[in-house]
């Protein structure tokens, strides 16, 4: 079985937003592209269990997450899925290090040394005690990536990680994400409206073609 599998998943609000099947292999890096507002974020919310589909099944690492209870899903998400949010969404009241350590706690872990090591590895040794407001955009990106991968999840989702960034900064973020996922043997699914920045991914999928008009 693939690491991620969507089977006839359908999610509608006032109109169908996500409709179709999809799979992602272990270690595979896939980009889903499409214009803003097309429903790409909803796709990630479904995969991470933040939203439940109207119909269909979703499997992650062989577990049918659509059958899990909410509390089981919370725990599963914390341990099995890394999430890089649009505009990073670091917790403003926590320092850079605490943001990453909090992800360890939510996953039920207590070994914080890897959080520190990861940030040091990313060149943030001097910024461990800085709050997000004291970090540059580039530093925030690295903290967000560290938070997503600190628990070594088999699946990393990234929602518009290059939004509002210039070309070189976009490339920098995606390279960091891909390198980190490669190092952890994690699968990476990125949704973005920026087709230029995801060249070199294993697969690039057009969202509307695949999830709204059928593959």
């Amino acid at each position: 079985m693939s690491l991620l599998e969507l089977q006839d998943v359908r999610k509608s609000f006032d109109h169908p937003v996500v409709e179709g099947s999809f799979s992602l292999e272990k270690g595979e890096h896939v980009a889903v592209t499409g214009p803003s507002g097309s429903g790409k974020s909803t796709l990630l919310h479904l995969i991470s269990g933040i939203l439940r589909p109207d119909s269909g099944k979703i499997f992650v690492s062989g577990v049918e997450i659509t059958a899990l209870k909410e509390t089981e899903l919370d725990q599963f998400r914390a341990r099995q899925i890394g999430y890089v949010f649009q505009t990073f969404h670091l917790l403003e009241s926590l320092t850079a290090l605490e943001n990453v350590e909090a992800a360890v706690t939510f996953a039920g872990g207590s070994n914080f040394s890897k959080a520190r090591a990861l940030l040091v590895e990313m060149g943030l040794e001097e910024k461990l005690s800085s709050f997000p407001g004291q970090l540059s955009v580039g530093q925030q990106q690295r903290v967000a990536v560290a938070r997503a991968v600190v628990n070594h999840p088999p699946l990393v989702l990234a929602d518009e990680p290059t939004a509002n960034l210039d070309e070189s900064r976009s490339r920098e973020v995606l390279d960091l994400l891909r390198e980190t996922c490669r190092a952890n043997d994690a699968s990476l699914l990125v949704v973005t409206h920026d087709t230029a920045s995801v060249q070199g991914f294993d697969r690039i999928i057009d969202y509307r073609e695949h999830f709204q008009e059928g593959p």
Binding site: T87, A102, D159
Partner: protein, 417 residues
């Protein structure tokens, strides 16, 4: 502390919104401090006054109010209800079951501090359960045959009197510099602080009060003016009150029956604690009103915690959504908000101890200056336990509404943008 634990997240959140939270904590501290003060000051004042008899059980004095008699002779407040003949003192002292009888006479002051004329036995033979009288270094008790004085610690500090000082008393219980006596008294001793009304008193031999210039004795019912160098006949002597130390309470009840119900000349205030306690009982409604006010203020503090959290809710919805997306269960998010509100209440309660200490120091200073009674700032009162517990409970309750809103935060919508 473990990063990402509820306590860690709650403390960090309080730190982030430190201005709003600081104001809420201050409001809560004032409310809790007020509750502490209302309950503790009342209890301490009651304990200090009810137990302020200095070991004596009863007071014999002129016909009239028992309370006025006690306030005048024990607490050295109020005016004297009048005098009784010396023969009543002698009769009381000789009665079986009366272990000690000490006469006191008042009528003069020095710069507002009351002069109390008494016998040397007041100091040398106090009741067994009375605190021992101690003199500051270099002092002694007065010689009953001389114009000598022993000064209470507070009065000494306020007037500057010290062993070797001399002073001339003023007539009356209220200081009026136009009515100074010519007699000069020598200070021979300063009492160590007793934290009782005695600290505000200047003691002189009772003979001194009798013989003070302008004083007229009416112990026999006729006017008698003592002459220097001549003894004062017993029948002319009179005293303001007689302090009685009784062998057992039955003696007191028997005396009360005889003096208050059958006699018409004198009044017996017995037991002293009961007489004072009646005042607090009569004033109980005032305490109940204050208690009600303090309960309301605690509720208002709880409401301010609620307002504070509700105000920040809209700006924190993205934070809640991120926490949920990172795997924090809804119930933990609910717990986080309740914990934050409880912490606000707890920190406010801790601040309440500081507010209480400041209020009580001020109140204690005023009460001591007015009465000589010293309140124990750190004396335990149950309100120190149930006050913070009630406040934390209120805080937790106040947190449930914002916690419920956080619990129901729609995650996906707040993660966009």
């Amino acid at each position: 502390m473990k990063s990402g634990s509820l306590l860690h997240l709650a403390l960090r959140s309080l730190q982030r919104h430190r201005l709003a939270n600081g104001i809420t904590i201050l409001t809560t501290a004032l409310a809790v401090g007020l509750a502490f003060a209302v309950f503790a000051i009342n209890a301490q004042a009651q304990a200090a006054f009810v137990g302020g008899g200095n070991g004596y059980d009863a007071v014999l004095g002129a016909r009239g109010s028992q309370l006025q008699l006690v306030l005048n002779s024990i607490f050295h407040l109020e005016t004297s209800p009048g005098n009784i003949p010396w023969t009543l003192y002698e009769a009381a002292a000789e009665r079986a079951g009366v272990k000690r009888a000490v006469p006191v006479a008042v009528g003069d002051n020095y710069r507002g501090f009351r002069l109390v004329g008494t016998t040397l036995e007041y100091f040398t033979d106090p009741p067994e359960d009375a605190p021992p009288w101690k003199l500051a270094a270099g002092g002694r008790f007065f010689d009953s045959e001389r114009r000598e004085a022993v000064v209470g610690s507070f009065a000494a500090r306020q007037t500057g009197l010290q062993p070797g000082s001399t002073f001339s008393p003023y007539h009356g219980l209220v200081f009026d510099e136009d009515h100074q006596h010519h007699e000069e008294y020598l200070v021979v001793g300063i009492l160590e602080p007793t934290n009782t009304p005695v600290d505000r008193v200047i003691f002189i031999p009772i003979e001194g009060i009798f013989r003070m210039e302008g004083h007229i004795l009416r112990g026999s019912g006729e006017t008698f003016v003592p002459e220097s160098g001549h003894p004062i006949p017993t029948e002319h002597r009179e005293v303001s009150a007689v302090l009685l130390d009784l062998a057992n309470p039955q003696i007191g009840f028997s005396l009360e029956q005889q003096i208050n119900r059958q006699g018409k000349v004198a009044t017996l205030a017995f037991p002293i604690g009961r007489v004072v306690a009646e005042v607090f009982q009569k004033m109980g409604w005032a305490h109940r009103v204050l208690a009600l006010v303090s309960y309301l203020v605690l509720v208002i503090a709880g409401a301010s915690i609620l307002a504070n959290l509700v105000q920040t809710l809209s700006s924190r919805k993205k934070e809640f959504a991120v926490l949920r997306a990172l795997g924090m269960p809804r119930k933990n998010l609910f717990g986080l908000l309740v914990l934050e509100s409880s912490l606000l209440a707890l920190l406010g309660s801790l601040g309440g101890f500081l507010v209480y200490a400041l209020v009580l120091l001020a109140a204690s200073s005023i009460i001591r200056a007015q009465t000589g009674v010293v309140l124990q700032v750190w004396s335990f009162h149950p309100v120190f336990l149930w006050g913070p517990a009630a406040m934390v409970g209120l805080g937790a309750l106040a947190g449930t509404l914002p916690a419920w809103k956080a619990y129901r935060t729609e995650v996906a919508g707040h993660l966009r943008g």
